[in-house]
Each structure stands twice: as C-alpha cells, then as structure tokens.
Amino acid sequence: MTDNKIAQLFKKQPGRSLNVYFTAGFPELESTTTILQTLQDAGADLVEIGMPYSDPLADGPTIQQSNTVALNNGMSIKKLFEQLNNVRDTVTLPIILMGYLNPVLQFGFENFCREAARVGVDGLIIPDMPLVEYEEEYQAIFEKYNLSAIFLITPQTSEDRIRRIDALTNAFIYMVSTASTTGNTVAGTDSQIEYFKRIQQMNLKNPKLIGFGISDKKSFDLACRYAEGAIIGSAFIKVIQQPTGLQENIRDFIYLIKSGEEIFS
C-alpha cells in the first residue's frame, strides 16, 4: 500500500494535528463541501465526515441530533459521493469517512470502497466493524482501494488487542479518551493521564489521535501532550448549528483551538 494523504500528513507534521468531525448534510443538505473547504482554509489538518445513521449508538445526543437532521434533509451515502465528486479539485486535506456498518453494507461494501477511492477518500472509520470480520472479509477490499482502516481503542482495550490494531492499520489509532459516548468533556483526571501515558509508552508504529471529549483549546492542548493530535466532533457540531455566520464561526473556532501553537511545539 502506498502512502496516502493520512500517512503523508503525519510524516510532514508529527504533532498537534487537528482532526475535525462533522456530519454530512448538516446543518443543510448542501453544506458538506462548504464546511470542508472552510475547514481547510481555517487550518484543520484532517477531516472526518460522518455518514448519518438512524441509530448511532456510540454517539451522544449532539451528534445523534445532527444525524437525525441530516437524514431529514435527505442525506444518504449516494448523495455524499455526489457531493464529493469534485472535492479533490480544491481540497487537499486527508478525508476520512466515518459511519456505522449497516448503511455501508446496504450500499454494498466493495461498491462503497470503490466510490470512496474514486472521490479521493483516504480512510474509513466503521466503529461497529469487528476486527475479526475486518481481517477475514474486508481487509483485502480496503487494500485494493488504498483505503486506511482506522480503529478505536479505549482505556479498557487490552495491550494485546492494541498491538493487533496497531499492526492492522497504517493511518492512526483513534484513542477514545474515556469510557463514554461522544460529547462529554475530557477532565484530565489521574486515571486518564495514566492511560494516555501508558499508550504513549507502548511505542506504537502508528500515530495516535485522542477523541471523545475534546472541545476547546485546553482539552486539545492536553491531548497533544500525549498524542500526535486530537479529534473534535460534538463541539464542532455545536459551532456549525449556529443559525448564521457558518464560515466565520468555523474560522474562529479553529483559530481558537490552534492558537498558541508555539507554546507546545
């Protein structure tokens, strides 16, 4: 597998990478590419586009609500691929699609990967795809289309399993900050810091991004002390659901998160 944009990013910029999640088709059906372009202009490093699902059980209320709105707006995987048709003309950021397995299966797994590769997607996060099914059924398809599979780990994931996940991916490890669904706050408790350090000391071959509970500069900075960056989801959804000033709000938010970069670099 050749280096895709995700691998290139971490080679070029080994720390403080900001990955922003947003739900496709939210707040408006056609807002997907505007948000993508604005995020790139504002200085985000990666984007994770959520494919809305009726029953997103690993997500908290903010993201679930954005999923419901997007579905009511008429969003679908087919529509998303249409929206992303010419995205690579202007957007150079690594693009990851995140979504639950059922809609992907209904689209057809290989069809989905083929379309994703065609529009220039670099990686996929499918949180309810079991590792064993990945190895047996899906890995060959991911590789055929040069897509990276990104897996989650949590404070409860065993060392053996983390090593197995590290061997199976070539993008980054998605470190869930704490036992929760999305939309809570990273408190920086002793046990959390101990978990971050424990993973840091494992010397994994892949970079790590911390997600769930990253909402502001303080939590982003905390995550960047122990990992190569962080993922912001629910807090960003709250920014884009403001009724006016979408692009300006996005620029302000990204600036606030990333400002003060010199202090830690």
């Binding site: 009726s54 059922n102 209904q106 949180p127 409860q156 994931t157 929760s180």
Partner: protein
Amino acid sequence: MDFSVDERGYYGKFGGAYIPEMLYPNVEELRQKYLDIIYEPSFQEELDELLRDYVGRPTPLYYAKRLSEKFNAKIYLKREDLAHTGAHKINNTVGQILLAKRLGKKRIIAETGAGQHGVATATVCALAGLECIVYMGQIDTERQKPNVARMKLLGAKVVPVTSGSQTLKDATNEAIRDWISNPEDTHYIIGSVVGPHPYPDMVARFQAVISAEVRQQLLYKEGTEFPNYVVACVGGGSNAAGAFYHYLNEPAVNLVAVEAAGHGVNSGLSAATSVLGSLGIIHGSKTLLMQTEDGQIVEPHSISAGLDYPGIGPMHAHLYDSGRAKFYAITDEEAMQGVVLCSRMEGIIPAIESAHAIAALHYMQLKSDDVVVLNLSGRGDKDLQTIINYLDEHDGQ
C-alpha cells in the same frame, strides 16, 4: 442442518458481535465466561431453586378444552403467564442476575418495551440487592403505566427515552450508551434473543427451561415428548426461542413464529420483520431487520409494545431463512380478537403479545389429532387499558 449457535455466535449467516470497541471488553468477558458459569453445578443449583420457589416453575401445561374444540385440534397452553411477574421474562433475568453477581457487577441496566422485561429485571435486582436502571421509550412509559409503577415500587430507576421513535429500539440504544459509559461495574441484562453474541445464545439457554418442561409434561399427558406444532409470538423472540429450543433439531415438530403485522403487513405500520426485513445489523447482531434502501432502520408499529421491534433475533432469522420455522403475521385487530377469544373461552386474559400467537391458530391447517403447544408468554393485566379502549371502540363486543 444444525440450528444451534456456532462458536462465533452465528446461526447460519446471522449473528456475530458487531459492536464498537467501547463495548468489546464487556462483551468479550461475557463470551469467555458465560458457559462455564451457567453450567457450574452451584450455579445450576441456585438457579433451579429460584426457578422453583421464587418464579413458580414448572409452569403448567394446560389442555385448553374449549379452544381445542373450536380449532379442532389438541391445544395446550404453556402457562408462562403464571410465572412470577406475569411473563416468561423472569426466566432470563433470574439467570442473568446470578451471572452478574458471579461476574462481580454492582449495577444492572436493562431496556424494556412492554415493561415485562423491565419488571422482571427490577424484581431480580431487588432480590439480589443490586442497583437497577431501566430504559424505556417515552411512548411505552405512557402506554404501560402499571409496569412503570411496578418497576419504581421494586426500587428501579425508570429512564424515559425521548430519542428516535421513543420505543423499544431507542430504549435499547440508550441502554447500550449507558453500558459504554459504565464498562466496569455494570451488567446489561438484555431481555430478548437479540444483541451481540453471546446474548442471543445466553438468553435462549435461560428460556430453554420452557421447552424442557414441555417435553416432560407432554410425555405425561400425551405419551410423547413431541407435539406437531409449537406456536409462539416473536418480537425479538425470547419466548419463542425458549419454546422452540429443545425442538430445534427435531424436524417432526413444526415451529410456528407469529409476528405483529400492526395495521397490515404492507400498511407502513407493521413490525413483521421476516416479511419486511432484509439482512443488516441492529444492536450488535447481523440479522433480519426493517430498513430503508439506504440502511436506515425503519420505525416499527404494533399495538403490543413487546412486539414493536424492527428486528428479530439471529436464531429466528436463521429459522425463517432456512424454512425450519413457518412465520405468520397477525394484525393488531386480529390480536385483539385473540385476547377476547382466549379470555371468554378459557378464562385467561393473555398479553396482547401472546394473543398474536392465539390468532395464528385461525391460519393453521390443523387436523383433529394434531397436538399444538402454544406458548402463552404473558398475562394481559398490563394491557388492560389498551384492551378497554379497544372494546369501547367496538361497542364492548
């Protein structure tokens, strides 16, 4: 063909454990330990004693004389409605609470639709002295008020769920979210043969006491362990799994699963998953579910909160797919007539869920010497308001 679960939790192509990493350690711990724990002699002894002295097992296998005359066959009702708390649900919660204690869990969560599983869970939590949180769709809390009151009286915290369709599917999502947030001290008592492996198999094993008893009781009453038909309603499918369990690999016994057609299978207000469903993933299991072309889960409808679920357990999906079980879909209207029929002909007010199974007798081509065992999964007290409303609308007839 073997209808038992395989090592990875599949029944044919259905089953598995499609769960986010946050649930993996919990589910894996269960998977590794559940069989060893439930087949320990001390566990079995404790379970048997509770089933006998607390639940009131064995439940009777009652020869329903007047129904038999009406349908011109020998109809037996397996009286799960006489089990403590009024439904078969207690068989599973008693088993799972003993398991949870052996796993060292301090906190129990559950989802409920009709409230029967919620009441059964609240009951065993009171028995075991464990904290109990029950997630229930807001709409279900309104249509099943007596069960909400029972759960609270038993010391459980009932959390009304306002997301999605505000029914069983969403209550299940919220319970899963709670489990994600409390991975170490909490056990999730799933009430049906759904969810990630090992739940469908574990719940089926706890409910299998139903068919184990039927075999013994029928031998005594009919001189054979094998009826011609076993009939049970299916939402997720736990009472059917229990009634079918010891007959799965006995091809001479016809298995009949009865789903809720709501306003009619093609009315857009239905829960007849075997007809309307297609292969997909719901609540951690690959099975048949009602979904759009885009893979979004469709809101089901049934007058019975316990059958109002857009999927079926993977075992039932396999029984349907392989033709091992025959599936019928019964409308709300037919089910309510089943309630009245059973009440007036046998003096037994059945749960609306179970009345779906009764209504299916009209569609079966029965012969006079056919022995039919119908699993009367629960009693209708909880449905009294719905039944009264129905009778009022139909001039009390």
